[in-house]
């Protein structure tokens, strides 16, 4: 993976190889879209953020430090864009308030749950909706930490690099997010 990514980036930088960039988009689009979707809770906005993240990555590729992981840099652009957008919107998140405009998993969001039986699928969908809704209620700083830790399965260190936070702060954000989710989970 790393060797492939390095080769693609080199081709883009040196020859402006757009096919190489398309390959890079293909490699990371699901993850970038997923972060954007979990952060914004909205498939339309997630697409918009994901697209902008890739365009910015393309335009600023010269500033990417090749000694570091490309995904860290790309996810950083993505989470920054999400947080900027959430800031511009009315803060409809809080630890208690009901969130509006949170879409279920419909439209473009595709689930890989074909292996489940129909009834199990319904339960799975409801659970999915619950998780999505509750994550969307978290303040953005806890939200991003929880998404990167438990949905993207990244290490504390990587999350710290992406969010530009010290490890201990990342941990605190994860603990607080986890605790807020736990309190709500008890009631269902």
């Amino acid at each position: 993976m790393d060797a492939v990514v390095k080769r693609l980036i080199k081709a883009i930088k040196k020859e402006d190889d757009q096919d190489a960039f398309a390959e890079l988009v293909d490699l990371y689009k699901d993850k970038v879209y997923q972060i954007a979707y979990r952060m914004t809770g909205n498939s339309y906005e997630a697409q918009d953020v994901a697209q902008e993240a890739f365009l910015r990555a393309y335009a600023n590729l010269e500033s990417y430090d090749e000694s570091r992981k490309f995904s860290t840099w790309l996810f950083r652009i993505t989470t920054n864009l999400c947080i900027d957008r959430l800031r511009k919107k009315k803060p409809d998140y809080s630890l208690d308030a009901e969130i509006k405009g949170t879409e279920g998993l419909s439209g473009y969001s595709q689930l890989s749950s074909e292996e489940l039986l129909p009834e199990e699928q319904v339960v799975a969908f409801e659970m999915q909706d619950w998780v999505q809704t509750e994550i969307a209620k978290l303040p953005p700083k806890y939200r991003s930490a929880i998404i990167l830790r438990y949905i993207e399965d990244l290490s504390i260190k990587e999350i710290g690099d992406i969010l530009d936070l010290p490890d201990n702060t990342v941990k605190t954000h994860i603990h607080r997010g986890r605790e807020a989710l736990r309190k709500r989970l008890r009631n269902i």
Partner: protein, 209 residues
């Protein structure tokens, strides 16, 4: 809620994978006699499992195409025009560089990126196979020499500056460069590309319209 701050902290550490075996043993021994802490741990653990079980989403099927259509493009004209509108300063900078470089005698021997490009040296040798530009011994380049995408071996003399973009200058013991030797980095490289693209686009404006 865990019964004490200490336990609460330990549960967090345990979930973060940061407890030693001994501490873990101690914590689970505490759960045996403290239902509150045991429940707190169970609930947190369940929360994590729920979040982790969230299905992985896939990007919309046409996303790559849409992104690629919005890139500043090398081949399609609307691409650079749009780029020029969106980045007027860079476009102006590109034109500036273009004007600067066209004051030299420019011989771009190949328009495709990655190929060696030489500007200013009439009598230099271009070795495409090895990606080298050679100023032969006894040869004198009277002005500046600029080479892109290639090594430059100077055995002769350059009376002006030597600029190597995306390559390596090499000065042989007999070679001589009167001016500065510059090894240009990636930042200019990017602008350079746009200059070149602009040149190509500008010159094919009428024929392709």
């Amino acid at each position: 809620m865990a019964c004490q701050k200490k336990e609460e902290k330990q549960i967090d550490q345990y979930l973060d994978g940061e407890l030693s075996a001994a501490e873990r043993k101690e914590l689970f021994a505490h759960f045996e006699k403290c239902p509150a802490c045991a429940a707190h741990y169970r609930e947190l653990n369940k929360t994590v499992m729920f979040v982790q079980s969230t299905s992985h989403l896939e990007a919309p099927p046409r996303m790559t195409d849409q992104i690629m259509q919005n890139l500043p493009s090398r081949k399609k004209k609307p691409g650079w025009r749009k780029w020029g509108r969106r980045h007027p300063i860079m476009a102006a900078a590109a034109i500036f560089v273009l004007l600067m470089s066209s004051s030299m005698m420019s011989i771009w021997n190949d328009q495709s990126a990655g190929q060696i490009a030489v500007a200013g040296g009439e009598n230099v040798e271009v070795d495409h196979e090895h990606g080298k530009v050679i100023v032969p011994e006894g040869e004198v380049v009277r002005g500046d020499l600029m080479v892109r995408n290639g090594e430059v071996e100077v055995h002769g003399e350059i009376q002006g500056d030597l600029t190597v973009i995306n390559g390596e200058p090499y000065l042989a013991s007999a070679g001589h460069v009167a001016g500065d030797i510059e090894d240009v980095d990636q930042a200019l490289e990017w602008m350079w590309y746009y200059t070149k693209k602009f040149t190509t686009e500008a010159f094919t404006w009428n024929t392709e319209e």
